[in-house]
Amino acid sequence: MQTETKSRVDQQTTPSGHNVTVLRFEGDIASTSKDAVLGAYQALPKATAKLILLDFTKVDYINSSGIALVIQMLIEASNSGQKVYAFGLSAHFTKVFTMVGITKYAQLFSSEAEAMAAL
């Protein structure tokens, strides 16, 4: 019933020359998304993937279980010295992420271009 979560990884370089690993999600982010969210993150090389940008542009539905997966990722990233950013959230989920405090540990951008310019 839940739309399968897909994820893929892109490597990008910011205008200022920093390497950014972009994790692009598609579908629902819910309790069934553990492999696509945490698994995809955990497969990244921790030594080189220091800046991680989450792309939610193609995500329509995120529930509290999905938010918990994002928080688990933030915990692991914090422990590994990685910084996590995100873009592409709807206005509603931007509000929800702000309400639960995620924005304290993952800065949100409105677009990929805005994020890349800032990183």
Partner: protein, 148 residues
């Protein structure tokens, strides 16, 4: 097209995760018919989804022999949603998640559903059913006439 006063819509969901989206879609359709702004419809969708997830997971404990009832009652200026399960009801009131405690492993990363419900609607109450069954959460979202 405005729905008549106090119109009621009922949906019965299987206790399987994912089916909360059926209730979300129904609540969204009713709220749009009533004239709610798009941002309030989104608030309602998330609140209804979280209420159904709690009913499926905690109330009915994923027992597919049990169903979750969703009753939407559209009044003149508010929409009430009751999500009913066969559990004993919530023992505690929602608390605001503490992201710092979560980040430091002092609080479970999960457990934000009740908080989101309460934060996104105008009224939320959890009612334990008699004999430990038919517990429900009641949500109310009000039409903001000044900005409609």
């Amino acid at each position: 097209m405005n729905p008549p006063k106090a119109i009621s819509v009922e949906v019965r969901l299987p206790s399987r995760l994912g089916f909360e989206k059926v209730a979300m879609s129904t609540a969204s359709a009713v709220a749009k018919l009533m004239g709610f702004r798009e941002d309030r419809v989104e608030d309602l969708k998330t609140a209804v989804a979280e209420a159904c997830i709690n009913a499926i997971e905690h109330g009915n404990r994923l027992n597919e022999k049990l169903s979750v009832g969703v009753v939407l009652s559209a009044g003149e200026d508010e929409l009430e949603v009751k999500v009913i399960d066969d559990g004993k009801g919530m023992k505690s009131q929602p608390s605001k998640p503490d992201i710092d405690r979560k980040m430091h492993g002092e609080e479970d990363p999960r457990g934000m559903g009740m908080f989101l419900i309460q934060a996104l609607v105008d009224e939320a109450e959890w009612v334990a059913g008699t004999n430990g069954k038919s517990s429900y959460v009641r949500l109310v979202i009000k039409l903001d006439k000044e900005s409609e």
